[in-house]
Amino acid sequence: MQVPLSWLKKYVPITLPPRELAHRLTMAGVEVTAVHEQGTQWERDKVLVGHVLKVEPHPNADRLRLPTVDLGKGEQVTVVCGAPNVAAGQKIIFAKEGARLFNTHSSRVEPLRPANIRGVRSVGMVCSALELDLGQDQEGIVVLPDDAPIGAPAADYLGDIIFEIETTPNRPDCLCVLGIAHEVAALTGQKVTEPDLSYPEDGDPIVKHVAIEIADPDLCHRYTASLITGVKVGPSPKWLQDALAKSGQRPINNVVDVTNYVMLEYNQPLHAFDFDKVKERHIIVRQARPGEELVTLDGATRKLSPPMLVIADAHDAVGLAGVMGGANTEVSGYTTAILLESANFEPINTRRTSAALKLSTGAAYRFERAIRAELAPLALRRATQLILQVAGGKAAKGIVDLQPRRNPPPVVRLTRCRVKQVLGADLSMSKVQSVLVSLGFTPTKAEGHGDDLVLEAPFWRSDIAIEDDLVEEIARIIGYDEMPTTSLSGHIPHHVPQPMWDLKQKARDLLAAAGMHEAISYSLTSHETLERAEVFGNDIQPLAIANPMSAQFQYLRPNLRGSMFETLAANWRTSPRDGLRLFEIGRAYLPRQAGHKATLPDERETLIAAFAGRRFPLSWLAKEQAGQDMSFFDAKGVLESLLSGLGVETRYEPAEDSALLTGRAARILCGDQAVGAVGEVHPRILERFDLTGAPVAIFEIDLAKLLEAAARTEKRYSTAGRFPESARDIALVVSADVSSESIEAVIKRHKMVRRITPFDVFVGSSVAAGKRSIAYQIVFQSPKDTLTAEQVSRALEDILRQLQRELGAEMRV
């Protein structure tokens, strides 16, 4: 909302510089986001109101013209002007040489210099809004009302300070100038002067002319109306136009302008009907009939349905209650009788109606914030008075005031003890009372104990319901920074273990230490990405968003593959030769089947890691490895280091996964539980993500399953052994389908074996077809004594015999 200081001054003395005042308001919860100084920068002797006497063509340029401007006291100047709208008879703003204005060519504020424009010397200029910093319009000049005084400093005539205010939803009272005035008064120790509401009531009693009825008292809490006959609709006087323009509203005509002005003054929306168009002089506030139509003031035909509330005459709807008036009763130049409405409508229904019709208006915005019904008659009288003042006519005697149900004003008890309990400050109740009274609260006769206060909220406040609301009022007016500051005392709650959080943090550290970079990607993804990653294929119906921002973010991802492929692809594009090592720990969202019941999805903590491209960074030391790309065993190496860091023992078995290459995919097993997969991604999928030219290996872990497994395997220390180890190498030839795991299992069974490491795997001409050779280093150690060479040789022979018997393994010669 925009509040001009000149308007604010009408109700409350301003005792602080504008920026200081803005700061005080902001700290008190009424945020002033900007202070616009309109015209305060214009030199009073150089920027003046001028009168265009005549406009002549430029001798050398069709698009330029030569207006002659009267600046008063006999001073006349002819300048060059490029604006298409300059015309004789206009009142304009004229800047003399030296005036500091925004120069549209240099985009800087500079003193105005004389110029020679296409052969005509020009000293001074007729100003546009842009040059005056009044707006963005630079095409046309600013045209003032006809009664602008020639020669007056523009700063006096147009200058003002405008506060840009952002209100929070709880404070509709701050949507109006009087509301801000009350805040200013409380913050600066001043008093608000409310407008005088009296006017001559010269006509017949209003009840003789109009019948009004509230058919739905649940949705219309109060309806007040006045009647003015003999008005003359036309443009508003300058003070009214200015006030609206500076508040960001477009002036329309004197009657409509008054209703807008009073809304901005009191926060009460008003509506003026052309009374002669109200059929049978009957107003009824009722719900719309199913299928009923209304053309609203914006020209749109609205299809209505109950429980939308309408204002109707004897036959048709003439307005959408609390939202917008109807075109059928619109005030026009021919209007002479005005029925003025000032009502109070139920917030939720107003909000739903406005939302359903996608019609947000200042009126609906205020009603949905639950403004007080007490405002209705006050604003009605104020607006009636102003219409009489600016449009003439005669007001009927009295007003209509229907209030089917009276809500008593909020009364709240406040104790010194609660103030202390919430703020931690022991304030005296006299201080508390003076703060609240300055805000318009009225102490009532307290039935009760000690120095408790019982206060009635002022009629403009609709946000006061409980004691703590008053506590906030006190704190914000005194200032939060004036409140004490202490450290938390009291017990620290018992520690509650968070194993998943700990696991995620540890996994991140281990992966980063293994050279992996952490990515975090969007939880929402597109249909296209899911399809490309073949996520839809596996009976997974991902959760969709009902109101997606775009097709790109339409589904909650059921796994992290699509995100990771996209991340790889994006980086592949920017740095195609780099090796990519990325991981993400995030949630996958899997719907739970529960029919209509709102069952939250399974948010599965998932780890994905991906490897693609060059294994070694380019280095003069690693010439031989320069061409190597990462593949399955790069992923498995990091996976093994991660799991061993987490203290989890795992096994691997070949797996079928349609997204992974057969023969290059494994299931990760913790005991019998599969916790994830590792493998190389099928090129069919990679191509769809533009990931061509190198293998992509990934591993994926379901962290919840891993956590279960990890909980069973606490790290145990085993003694290193006092006696020396001795190592022997053996090379075996086995059938190609014998896994290294099964060989190692046989070797490990020997009680003297400590470690086994495969160090060579060979298939080729020297090995028979269908066979392969694997070489192991076996480390022996005894807990009892130093092993002799003979003992080790005997152990090795035992192992070889066993391998031959169980796996058909032969020593390679």
Partner: protein
């Protein structure tokens, strides 16, 4: 030959050998020298052997001289050998010296996402004040995201959180599920499960239906804080958050609190911190105000406490919530929030 003659011969031979040794410049000549004097057929060996021709009773003096000469030459040889070997190594190293400006063997080092790092820092700061980490669901029920937080259906305050709704309709035709718009739903979830005292921080992803630009992202990370007990006041809220700002942004930080509105707190507050970049003088980051808005906070609304079964006359508490990306942007001078989830390695590798 007399003993005298023999002794003087030996002395001469020793002197000659020593002088030749001093003139030697490399190891091969040294070896030649050794063979020519000390070798089996060397001059000294020959001379010593010739002492046998002297009658035994006269041999003693010459024998001693001979032994002295041999010992002296062997010691001198050993020293010279060492000298020449060192010289040879120095020469070799001089020839084969490394260009120590070349890079070493590359070691792979990974990185954590800046959001991860800032969340850890924030949680660690609150951990020093007894706050424990708890996590909650990102897909939430309307009840927890709004209603239990004193934001009823059709309340205008809902406009503060543009919501992404899950495409699921309940039996009444309502949409009960949404992507949480803040981490605050965990306030109710935690209190429903725990008796006071409560002291937790809740990190997590949040979502809003929002157009993105350099400072707005629809997908972001918050840390929520909640402390409820007997005797917790606004003064404690101020003290706790002040301490937090000092831990995270430096010991000299100043903070200030203004009134602000969130339906689930009363009184509500917003905290700003003096700009640590310009020390409060005013710069681009603080929009020339000298102050940077850091977080929203307030005293837990009695309706929220009552809603989870806490007696709001006995227990009071405070809550706060802050955006992690904004915090990281401030700390690292990141100018565009959209960089966080674009996952460009050139960005990620810097953290």
């Amino acid at each position: 030959m007399t003993t005298k003659d023999a002794t003087s011969n030996l002395r001469e031979l020793q002197a000659q050998a020593m002088s030749e040794l001093g003139a030697l410049r490399d190891l091969s000549h040294l070896e030649e020298w050794r063979v020519s004097y000390l070798g089996r057929k060397g001059k000294l060996t020959q001379t010593l052997r010739s002492l046998g021709e002297i009658p035994p009773e006269q041999r003693r003096e010459a024998g001693m001289a001979g032994n002295e000469a041999k010992q002296a030459l062997e010691i001198a040889y050993g020293l010279r050998l060492k000298e020449l070997e060192e010289a040879a190594l120095a020469a070799k190293l001089q020839q084969e010296r490394l260009d120590i400006t070349l890079p070493g063997w590359p070691v792979l080092s990974g990185s954590l996402h800046p959001t991860t790092s800032i969340v850890r820092e924030v949680c660690a700061a609150f951990a020093t004040m007894g706050f424990q980490v708890v996590e909650g669901p990102e897909v939430e029920l309307d009840g927890y995201n709004f209603e239990k937080l004193n934001i009823p259906k059709d309340h205008p305050a809902r406009d503060m959180w543009n919501t992404l709704w899950v495409d699921h309709t309940d039996a009444n035709g309502g949409r009960p599920m949404l992507l949480r718009t803040h981490t605050s739903p965990m306030q109710a979830r935690i209190m429903e499960k725990t008796k006071p005292p409560v002291r937790v921080v809740v990190p997590g992803k949040c979502y809003r239906y929002e157009a993105t630009d350099a400072t707005h992202e629809w997908h972001f990370t918050q840390v929520e804080g909640l402390a409820v007990d007997k005797g917790i006041t606004l003064a404690d809220l101020k003290g706790t958050l002040y301490e937090f700002a000092r831990i995270l942004f430096g010991q000299d930080r100043k903070v200030r609190f203004r009134c602000d509105y969130f339906p689930f707190v009363e009184p509500g507050a917003e905290m700003s911190m003096d700009c640590f970049l310009c020390e409060g003088k005013g710069c681009r980051v603080c929009k020339h105000t000298g102050w940077i808005e850091i977080l929203g906070a307030g005293m837990v609304h009695p309706k929220v406490l009552e809603g989870v079964g806490y007696d709001s006359n006995t227990y009071t508490g405070f809550a706060f919530g802050m955006g992690m990306e904004r915090m990281a942007m401030l700390k690292h001078g990141i100018e565009d929030i959209r960089l966080f989830y674009a996952n460009d390695l050139r960005f990620l590798k810097q953290f």
